[in-house]
Amino acid sequence: MQRNNRGSWLGLALCAASILTAQAAPRRLVVIKADGLPAEVLDRWARATDPNTGRSVLPWVDHVFRRNGSWVRNFYTRGISLSAPAWSMLDTGEHLVIKGNVEYDRFTLRVYDYLNFFPFYLANARSTRADMPGPEVLDETGHSLLVDRFPPEERYQSNQLFQRGVHWRILGQGAVKRITSRTPRELFDEWQTGFEFTPAVTEQVEREVMQGIAGATDNYLDYYFIDYDHVVHLANDEASLVGVLRKLDALVGRLYTAIEASPRAKDTILVLVSDHGMNSDADVYSQGYNLVQFFNSAKGGGHHVVLNRHPMTEYKLRALDPFVTEVSSASSESLYLAGQAANYPTALLDLDGNERASIHLRNSDLNRLQQLLQRAAAKDMQAGRDALALIESKRTAWSRIVTEVEEERAALKRGIERQRLVVDAQEKKFNRLEHDLELDEPPKRERAALSSWERDYEGYGGYVEYLRHLLSLKASDLQAAKFRVDQLIPRRAMGDANRICDLQNYSIGPGVRINYFQALTELRARNNVQQGVSSRPVDFIAVALDPAGLASLNAGADYGVFLYFDDAHEALLLVRERAGQVSIRYQPAAKLTQDSNGAITFDARPWGADLPLKYFEDPALDVQGERGAWLSEWHTDQEWLSAVHRTMYSNGVIGLAEHFGPTRLGRTSKLWDEAGPDEPVLRRFEERKRGRVATDLLVLASNHWNFNVRGFNPGGNHGSFFRVSTNSTLMLSGAGIPQGRQIERPYDSMSFFPTLLRVSGLATSVQVRAYPGRVIQELLP
């Protein structure tokens, strides 16, 4: 016993010492965040020789990282290969909270548009917001960013998706220096060869990063490099690709040279990381399929569709409005909602990234209820009775929602009152210096939180009011026609999530139903002129299992995902988490159905080709023994990663589990920190909100297909689980990083954050255990 105690004390002492050590001398981090940069492409061109110089085509990447640093060659996005979710994981080290580039709340239609800078800049200028939508959501769910690890005076964060505050001087000084940093001769040359204004911002950011590197105070600096993603979406030719890679290489060279010349050269780590890869092939154009038109059409359900940007943006004058976050595409073929697109949109689409579409459909029963009430309003008594029966079947669930949401709103209201006091007590005026030091950002953050909570309070209140009306509807009201459909059916809401059975029998009009699994996977392109590209735009569909469906399987899983390729090629992904360890099992299936009570039945089928993710037939699958046997067993996420990461769909099995996993809230959030007894209720509210943004359908595009409708992305796309899209870049060089090391063991983006904390000395091996990702041990000295 005594011995044990002594051991514990020794452990604690070591731990304390290591914490002190870690806190005493943290290393400086300079992070280049390259959007969409695939590891394989960088590798290929870093190895290639430039005939003009006899050196690597990317001499600095070769010098800094390949020869004098470490390269994690099998580094993958965990989840869909999409910027907002991917950066959120890299920047927090936590399981996914954000799962799309735009998210919609099913109850309130609140839009979380993570990519649009313009509304944020305007709101920041008006002092109503401090952060981009991404950090706001992460703050509310209790997760902090890497940049939050450093006090404001020790960090420099460039413009990016998870941006805190706005460096207004970048715009002002950037514009001025775009002119003044060049000789008249250079300006004339640029004018004649094509003047571009965009470099004004990027050049100024680089100047400020350089300034930070030259100083001694900044411990964290980052530079967000967006060009690769932008260029390669549009063009797949080698010249464009090499051009943008050389630009990145030159940036690496300048930053590295500045670090070498800085007083902290010995304790600086330069990092190059990307959020995802890019499916681009010089010989194949990526083909688009317009899902908006499909959902608008009668065969797609005649939906009024909402999306976050105008389709065919470049051809519309109104698309010049940069503040748009919600656009409606009305259907002329709706069977029961003609002309009601503004009040009753029935499909919400997130198409960004383009190799996948995340789709909310209005709850099928809500559609049916509206159709019945419309008929009841026209004195169809049977329809009225059916409507009441339908409401009755929902009574328990809806009553529970009403009760819980009202409880949550009451707690939220108390939170709003507390927050209002905070906001009222804030300093409102800031002088120029304070403004330059961005001291006005925290008050903006408080105001933004208040505004967000008020919005949720109103939004959720509006939704439960509709439910209350529905629950109080009586037969006499229907007989006396004492009701209005638009006062009973929630406007601008999708209602409850659709289950598998709803999506298999989705109501699109009186007596008309559609099976979306079949409808979407049976889509075919007429003009398919490229060899090796399937005429089938949709590869497979993934849908979360609802609790009743999961329970009916009795499989010992915490949650699950249904994957559909066609009726004969389906699968269930079953996921469980024990002591922080995620395990996954893949169950091949066929003809899966769910009855109205939620019970799932399916034909068990053996492993074979053409199952979703196509692991069985993939020659790169690395398992011991018989493939089918191995694939049918439970395995940890690490075991799966080692086995599948080189296959065509790579870590898709883990990505799907991550994407459909539950929301894990952090410990501290402004929302509940000072809420006292309201904390559990407010936590539940936050979980509810995150649950409401989960989509019904995740539709994955076939290889070289995309769902972009804003314009055309023939160059390449990402968003899928293809290896080419999830294989991203991670390279480090500098203080304490092994030289010339190429790490073959696979890791995913959840490892980035704890690894950076370890190599920089910001956290000890004990402290990083609080994060779910593995530290990349090969990078430690």
């Binding site: 005939p51 003009n52 110089t53 050196r55 001499p59 600095w60 070769d62 010098h63 800094v64 390949r66 020869r67 004098n68 001769r185 250079e186 004339f188 040359d189 640029e190 004649q192 060869t193 094509g194 549009l234 063009a235 797949n236 030719d237 010249a239 464009s240 051009g243 030159a250 060279g253 300048r254 590295y256 154009y285 083909q287 688009g288 317009n290 038109q293 470049e314 051809y315 519309k316 004058l317 075919r524 392109a525 007429r526 003009n527 398919n528 002129v529 005429s535 314009g711 055309f712 023939p714 160059g715 092994p738 030289q739 010339g740 090391r741 190429q742 790490i743 073959e744 063991r745 090969e778």
Partner: protein
């Protein structure tokens, strides 16, 4: 001692040149599947590098067309550090006849004028790479003369002078686009150029179409080409996909084509003769509804037979289950065009495109030539025009004349170079595109080939004559900067202008001076390379373990 040194220098410089003045034996190089490049030695230490295209077999067996020549001053050695591209020639770009000049001055005449240009076979260079700014002052002076002197004289003078100047400049630009298209089709090394050198030539060509482009510095010239090339790559993919999707939505068949290029640069839309009636939206297509068109039902024009399986996928003939379908061409589209594909041929209305172009030009000519609305001279007109262009351009209308002319020249050049199209389709496209010509200086494709041949023969015959002299002149100009001060050079130039070119100053090219030219070039080469080398990391000195750490 000094004399000895002079002799040594003379032999050092001149020996390789003398060696290069031997018999002019062609040195054939296969550049790409599309082109052959011939390198003819030029007396005095240069090379005439000519890009040839072998005509499609169905035109003539083994016949080649010369397309572009570049006169390269190599100083007679094999060192690329002192090489200089001198002149770029586009064969077919010929001195106009008197009749053509007269026709070009006739406002609202939108057709070719014809005439025999073979009497003056020596081609004029498109650009003098040693003095790219040469054309700038005449261009500015011309514009000034036009607005300050000719415009106020009244409609006849204004309209005809503007028509003439516009067509002259457009004719030259057309040939620049043609040369660019040819140079793009071959890898740089095939022509004996470094990537950067060829980009500089292409950049200079691009800049030569802009009034002040000749004044752009040497180091910035390649970026003019790189930006154009990148924009072109984006256009090709964008329009390929736009057209494919529009074909899908409209029940048409999409066929991408590589016409005289390694890139997919054009596309055809077809309709199946057995296609049932389909909703049709002509946006971005610019053609009428084929499903309600009686001409489709009784189609007498060009058609093909394709084979489809029962699911509607195209198959090779002879495949099991494949059935034949008669396909009727609707439109040929250029993909390298901003915003949307450009309809080049409407097979049902062959004259439509010419009328569209004529209408656009007519409205422009009325505004400038007749009404005297001349850009900066009439700000409300210019503002209105810009707004209209912005709105129409945003909707995908082809508002850029430069882009339309470029697409037209790409198609002409492509058809000249193409080997892959079936002969009847090739013939049909040539027949249609030949109708389009609107510039009096232009020639039909057949006549242009003949002009090109005679121009090439004339040029190749001058490898010991005027081309050698041109090399010497270029070197003289280079050394002149070293020998004379800026004011002295201005004086010499003024003397040339004052004597209407009768007096031209010459600096004799002694061996010392040639050595100096050589040194200047090498220094300049190092100077160009310096920024590239300066930002390179140090060469690796330590071999590190690249083994995987598991």
């Amino acid at each position: 001692m000094k004399g000895c040194l002079g002799c040594m220098l003379f032999f050092y410089i001149m020996l390789p040149m003398l060696a290069a003045t031997g018999p002019s034996s062609p040195d054939p190089v296969i550049a790409s599947p599309l082109l052959r490049i011939e390198r003819l030695p030029v007396a005095g230490g240069g090379e005439l590098r000519t890009y040839f295209r072998r005509l499609p077999d169905h035109h003539a067996n083994g016949l080649e067309i010369p397309l572009v020549s570049i006169l390269e001053d190599t100083m007679g050695d094999g060192d690329p550090a002192n090489d200089r591209a001198r002149y770029v020639y586009a064969f077919g770009f010929a001195r106009p006849t008197l009749w053509q000049r007269f026709s070009a001055a006739v406002p609202f005449l939108y057709r070719r004028a014809g005439g025999d240009r073979r009497r003056h076979p020596m081609p004029a260079p498109l650009i003098d790479m040693a003095a790219p700014s040469n054309g700038t002052i005449p261009k500015i002076a011309g514009a000034a003369l036009q607005s300050s002197y000719l415009d106020p004289l009244g409609i006849p003078y204004r309209a005809s002078s503007r028509a003439y100047r516009g067509r002259t400049s457009e004719y030259r630009d057309m040939n620049v686009y043609r040369a660019l298209e040819v140079l793009r089709s071959a890898p740089p090394e095939a022509g004996g150029f470094g990537e950067e050198d060829l980009a500089r030539i292409q950049g200079r060509l691009v800049l030569s179409t802009r009034i002040l482009g000749g004044l752009v510095s040497e180091s910035a010239a390649p970026s003019a080409w790189i930006k154009r090339r990148n924009a072109s790559a984006m256009n090709l993919g964008h329009n390929w996909e736009l057209l494919r999707q529009r074909a899908d939505q409209n029940g048409l068949e999409f066929q991408p084509l590589r016409i005289g290029s390694e890139d997919t640069n054009f596309a055809l839309l077809w309709v199946r003769a057995d296609e049932p009636k389909h909703a049709f939206d002509s946006r971005f297509l610019g053609i009428g509804d084929p499903f309600s068109d009686a001409r489709i039902r009784d189609w007498q024009g060009y058609s093909e037979t394709w084979y489809f399986d029962n699911y509607g996928s195209r198959e090779e003939s002879g495949e099991a289950g494949a059935h034949p379908v008669r396909m009727i061409p609707l439109g040929l589209y250029a993909l390298d065009h901003p915003k949307a594909p450009l309809l080049m041929i409407d097979f049902r209305r062959p004259g439509k495109l010419k009328r569209r172009e004529m209408a656009l030009r007519f409205s422009d000519d009325v505004a400038t030539g007749v009404l005297g609305f001349t850009g900066w001279g009439n700000l409300p007109y210019m503002a209105t025009k810009q707004v209209v262009f912005l709105v129409r351009g945003r909707w995908g209308a082809p508002v850029s004349r430069e882009a339309r002319v470029n697409a037209y020249m790409q198609l002409r050049q492509g058809l000249l170079m193409d080997r892959g199209l079936p002969e009847p389709l090739h013939h049909e496209l040539v027949r249609n595109i030949d109708r389009l010509g609107w510039n009096p200086f232009e020639e039909g494709i057949g006549r242009e080939v003949k002009i090109a041949e005679s121009q090439y023969r004339a040029l190749a015959g001058e490898t010991n004559g005027s081309l050698a002299r041109k090399l010497a002149e270029g070197r003289e100009r280079e050394i002149r900067n070293e020998l004379h001060s800026g004011s002295a050079r201005a004086g010499l130039r003024a003397a040339t202008i004052a004597t209407f070119g009768i007096y031209r100053h010459h600096d004799e090219l002694t061996p010392e001076r040639l050595a100096e030219v050589n040194r200047i070039r090498r220094d300049s080469y190092q100077e160009r390379l310096q920024p590239v080398l300066a930002v390179l990391p140090p060469r690796p000195t330590v071999v590190t373990s690249a083994g995987a750490a598991q």
